[in-house]
Every structure is written in C-alpha cells, then in structure tokens.
C-alpha cells in the first residue's frame, strides 16, 4: 500500500517538471521579448549654416528653433523653411518672428517663411508668446513693458520702480516678476489678475516665473531662503510654498509641462521635477548651468553645461533618464513633440524619435 502511494507521488512530481522542460522548447520555437526596451532612433540632421528663405510658403507642422545666434523654422520631416542669423536677438513664435538689432526703433514681424507681416514702432525689445498671439515690448532698461496691437497701438503698458527680472506668457496673460520681490499677473487688457509679494526671505527678489495651462502661477522667489511659490484657484487664493536648497542670484529656469501636471525647476547642478498634485519630487543630476529645457507629455529633454560642453538628458517626468550624453556644443536648443525630440547643437539640428520595442 505504501509503495503504491509512493509510486503515485513520483508520477505527480514528474508532471510538475513537464512545463519547465517544455518552456525552453516553447521559447525556442516561439520567441517573445521578455521586456520593452526604449531607445532613440536618429531620423534626420540639418546643417544650420545654410541661409534659407522660402518666402510665404507657410505650412502646417512647422516649428521654430533657435540655437545660439541661428534661428529659423523647420518641418517635422526635416525641411528647413527658413534659416537666418539673429541681428542682435530674435523673438520667436509659431506664427512668426521678429529679428531685431541692438537699438531698434521699429520691429518687423515676419512669417515662418520669412515673408513680411507687419511693422510697428517700438523703442523696446520685442517679446512674443509661443503661439504668436501677443506681442509685448520690454523697455530696454527693464523698467516697463507694453502690450502692442498689430498696428503698433499700445493695448496696455506698465512701468515699474524695479527692473523686471522674469516674465512668463500664456496666451494673452503675462506674469511679471520684479527685482523688488513683487510679481503681477496681467490679463488681456492689463487688468491685474493676481499680485503677490512673497515674504519671508532676507532679500526679496523674483528669480523665476511660469504659468501653466491649468491656471497655476509659479515663482522662484527670494534669497535666504529661496522658495518655490505656487498659486492657483480662481483668485489664486491657494498658495503653496516649497523651500528650495538653492541660493541663485540670477534668473532661474522654471517650466510647466504641457498639461500643467509637472513643474521643472532649475537647481544647483540638477533639475528638480515636481508634481504639485501628489507632492512628488524627483531630481535629475545636470552639472553646470541649465541651457535648454523642453517638456512634452511623455518625455522631457534638458541640457546643461559650461561654455564648451553640454550634457543632454532625455527623461520621463519624475523618472530616471532614458539617455544622457556629453556633447562638445556650446549652444543647445531642444523641443519635444510627441515622441519626437528635436535638438539643436551649435550649427546643426537633428531629430531623434523615442522608440520602444
């Protein structure tokens, strides 16, 4: 009796071993990936030393770029629609650009193909929102700004008793940060939507500004301590303050992602990624000064470094980098469109797609 029981147990153990024996055979005949691998696939590369002006052949899917003094418009498939050198600086938007000298009295708005759109009198330097909907003129002493209409008329203007240190635009809204520690958000007609004078730092100053599509205003404010201030709500009544470890004495790069979920804050030799709704913070080491920062919904790209070299990082928000590279480029520009990354390095522009397999 005991023998027959033993024999049955031996038989059942064999059955357990069968799948382990069959698995290698199955994987051999029907191979499957055991995980998904993400990599960057180069798509095209452009030489930016070319001077190109195609006139008024503006088409959809064109986006602006600026790498050092070189700027222009390129299609997603790599056709350079317009390429030129900034006279002094250039104001860029999706709808067109203003290339201006160091002492302008008029500014000329051109379409992405380099065709003339309009010209307005302006003693200041132009500032365009990304969509090209609003044109501002910033006083050359940073003591004020004007919103200009297409005929050059002043829609509203403000002068301040302290220089402007930072500005963020969202459509027709403009958030202005000042050297004396004040920040004011102006509406389309110059109405004050929000005003804040963050206190609690030994030296009041606004060092960074950002506006999200969801209506949140963000500021980097003060020295000793330096703080990140977030204001949201219909009247910006909900305010949150995060103390930062940094001690910057210059403008600090501050950007929201396209859906407003994540905020990217430049810190000393790193990029702080912050998800305000969940109060999650992650840090990405980026030595040197931040040179470029662009965030898409899925991916972001940032570059930092010194005068001669740049360190580039591609990453998902709050996650470890997907790719990092050190490049011998002084000027870096980047933007993200879906899973396509566009990177400008000194005199070339390239596209790489994020591919998962």
């Amino acid at each position: 009796m005991s023998e027959s029981i033993f024999a049955r147990k031996k038989k059942s153990r064999l059955w357990i071993a069968v799948p382990f024996l069959l698995l290698p055979l199955y994987l051999f005949f029907f191979p499957r990936p055991v995980g998904r691998e993400t990599f960057l696939r180069p798509v095209w590369r452009l030489d930016l030393r070319l001077e190109v002006a195609e006139g008024k052949t503006v088409e959809a899917g064109v986006f602006p770029f600026r790498v050092g003094k070189r700027f222009g418009y390129v299609t997603h498939d790599g056709r350079l629609l317009y390429g030129a050198t900034a006279r002094h600086q250039v104001a860029l938007s999706e709808k067109g650009f203003i290339n201006y000298g160091s002492r302008p009295d008029h500014v000329v708005f051109m379409d992405p193909g380099g065709g003339f759109e309009f010209s307005v009198q302006s003693y200041g330097y132009p500032l365009l929102d990304a969509g090209g909907e609003a044109l501002y003129s910033v006083n050359t002493d940073l003591g004020g700004l004007k919103r200009l209409g297409p005929d050059g008329e002043i829609l509203w203007q403000g002068e301040f008793s302290a220089p402007i240190t930072s500005a963020a635009l969202r459509g027709e809204e403009c958030l202005v940060g000042l050297l004396d520690g004040r920040a004011v958000l102006y509406g389309p007609a110059g109405e004050t939507l929000f005003r804040i004078d963050p206190s609690g730092s030994r030296i009041p100053v606004i060092l960074g500004t950002a506006l999200s599509v969801t209506g949140t205003a963000a500021l980097v404010s003060g020295i000793d301590p330096q703080k990140l201030v977030l204001a949201q709500g219909e009247r910006f009544e909900t305010q949150r303050v995060v103390e930062l470890a940094s001690d910057f004495r210059r403008e600090v790069a501050l950007r929201f992602g396209p859906d407003g979920r994540f905020l990217y804050v430049e810190q000393e030799n790193e990029l702080m990624m912050f998800e305000p709704a969940r109060e999650r913070i992650a840090r990405l080491p980026l030595p040197g000064r931040l040179k470029s920062l662009s965030a898409g919904r899925e991916f972001a790209i940032a570059a930092s470094g010194d005068a001669g070299t740049s360190r580039l990082a591609v990453f998902r928000p709050l996650a470890a980098p997907l790719a990092m590279a050190s490049l011998p480029a002084a000027s870096v520009w980047s933007t993200v469109s879906g899973r396509s990354l566009f990177v400008g390095l000194d005199e070339e522009l390239l596209r790489a797609d994020v591919v998962e397999q």
């Binding site: 050092g68 600086q89 104001a91 160091s102 002492r103 009295d105 003693y123 200041g124 330097y125 132009p126 500032l127 910033v138 006083n139 050359t140 002493d141 940073l142 003591g143 004020g144 004007k146 002043i154 829609l155 509203w156 203007q157 403000g158 002068e159 301040f160 008793s161 302290a162 220089p163 402007i164 240190t165 930072s166 500005a167 963020a168 050297l179 004396d180 102006y186 110059g190 109405e191 004050t192 030296i203 009041p204 100053v205 060092l207 960074g208 500004t209 020295i223 001690d247 004495r249 210059r250 403008e251 790069a253 430049e266 000064r289 931040l290 040179k291 470029s292 920062l293 000027s331």
Partner: protein, 303 residues
C-alpha cells in the same frame, strides 16, 4: 508741499551721501543724466563714459541679481546687456549695466568696495562703451537720481534755456520780447538742456530742476530727483497715460514721461492762464551742481 519734498530729497541725499557711497569709475565722465528722454520712458540712471575700465561697487554690498547675455535660459530680452545688481545698507540697490562679456566672473555673493565687479562694455542696448548706473531705494520704493547719494562732480557750466514756447490749441508760438497773445489757458514749453563741462562740442544733459513762474508765483516744477510707481486708480496727481496700468512719475510733481516731454529736450512746463494786460513768465533751470539759468518774458495779452 513740493518744497517740502525737495527738502526731504536733499535731506535723503545728505544722509545717504554721508553713508559713504562712491562713484563706480575712478574718473567718471557723465554722459547722460537722470530723467532724460529715452524714446518712451525716462532715463532711470546716469551714464558714465571714459572707455573700457574696471567697474567698482558704489559701496560694499551683496549680490542680488546678475545677468549674462547668452548664458543659460532667459525669459526676457535684456537691453541692459550684462548687468549686476547689488544691495547695500539702508535699503539701497545699485544696478551696473552694459558690462563687457565675461568680465563678471569674479563677482561673489559679498562684494567689497575695492574689488571690481566687471568692466565697462557695450552689451545690450548701447551705442558705445559706457556704464549705466541706476540706484533704487527699496525702502521708499523709488528709483533715485544717483547724484543724490554720490559725491559731487565738478561742473561750472550753467544749463541752457534756448527757447520758450506757448501752445494754445495746436499752435506753438516761440516767446519773444513784446509778444502779444490772446487770453486763455496756454501751455508753456521749454527747450532746455545742461552742458558737459569736459567737452567743447554740444553734448546735452538733462537739468536737475526746472521751475515755471508767472507774475512771481510758482506754477509748476520739474525736479528730477526720484521716480516712483503710480498705479491705475491712484487718486493723486495727474491722470496716468492712456492704457497705463502703472507709470513712473516724478516724486513731487507726479508728472509721467508724457507729461514731461513733448520731444527730446523740449519740456512741457505746465499751463498758465492769461488774462488781458501784461504777464511775466519766468523759467528757471538748474543742474545738480547748483549752476542756474533763467529766462524772463513779458507777454501782452489781448481779448
């Protein structure tokens, strides 16, 4: 009230001057003064020439803000070029602009008076190498004329009152001896400038004070001592310019840029009421060193 404010400004100058502020260049050559016409706004500081040379802080202080062209990300186009902002005692902040690229590398968080913070350059909105210096009184919330806190510069040249005009409606009439005008309210304008003592050619600077008197009574004054910010809805002074949400106006008279300038070097001196008979119009101008000029006209007023 205006005299009181002017007195307060001078008292402030005395207090701050005694606090040991110095010019930022070894041999400052004044090439532009506070309150000059800058296209659509007041010049909010002084310009100092003399070629490429080290720039020193006006006093020991602490770095608050600096900007280097083409370094890092910037949300703004910056006409000040490479610039440094320092904080000093008494709530004073000083701004040093148009510095030479790469000359600010040694700026530390704490700056001593004898250590250069940069070199005179022409970065940003600049027609040549010069230093733009502006001074902000953070406690008063005003931008002040740097002369108020810095040691006096030698100057023995009087301001020039070249021409005076009256405007009735759209007509602009140059004042001359024996001029006859009709009764009514007219605006007085003056072509006025100060001169640099160190050049023989015409190089105009702005005067410090301009007064308009009618029959011995002060009508208006323009004192380029400090600028403060007035916001829309402010109850004091003349209305803000069209579309202005905030405007820098002269402390004392509350005139904004458009209330002061008709065009460069042509000042809007204020309105006077002319009644039949004779009236005396006197314009008085002085520079910061105290050199004074005046012009007087006797106007005959008819019905």
């Amino acid at each position: 009230m205006k005299r009181l404010l002017a007195g307060l400004l001078l008292a402030l100058a005395g207090v701050l001057g005694a606090a040991g502020f110095e010019w930022p260049l070894k041999n400052p050559i004044l090439t532009a003064t506070f309150g000059e016409h800058r296209g659509d706004h007041f010049h909010n500081g002084v310009d100092l020439g003399g070629g490429e040379q080290p720039v020193f802080p006006i006093a020991e202080g602490e770095l608050v803000f600096m900007h280097e062209e083409d370094a890092g990300l910037s949300s703004l186009p910056v006409g000040l070029g490479n610039f440094v902002v320092l904080q000093h005692h008494g709530g004073i902040r000083s701004v040093y602009a148009h510095l030479k690229s790469g000359s600010m590398e040694d700026v530390q968080e704490s700056v001593a008076r004898d250590l250069a913070i940069g070199v005179v350059g022409e970065s940003g909105y600049s027609a040549g190498k010069h230093l733009h210096l502006s001074v902000i009184d953070t406690e008063m919330g005003t931008i002040i004329n740097p002369h108020l806190i810095l040691p006096p510069l030698v100057d023995n040249q009087k301001p020039v009152i070249r021409d005076l005009f009256v405007r009735s409606g759209k007509e602009l009439v140059r004042l001359a001896a024996g001029l006859t005008v009709r009764r009514g309210e007219v605006e007085v304008l003056g072509s006025i400038y100060d001169l640099r003592p160190d050049v023989s050619f015409l190089w105009r600077l702005a005067p410090y004070k301009i007064y308009l008197y009618q029959d011995g009574r002060e009508r208006t004054s323009l004192i380029f001592g400090s600028l403060h910010e007035r916001e829309r809805g402010s109850q004091t002074g003349v209305p803000l310019a069209a579309g202005a949400v905030s405007e820098l106006t002269l402390v004392g008279g509350e005139q904004g840029f458009r209330g002061v300038f008709e065009e460069p070097w042509l000042y809007r001196l204020g309105f006077i009421t002319l009644t039949p008979g004779e009236t005396s119009v006197v314009v008085f101008a002085s520079d910061f060193a105290g050199n004074e000029s005046s012009r007087e006209y006797l106007i005959r007023v008819t019905e």
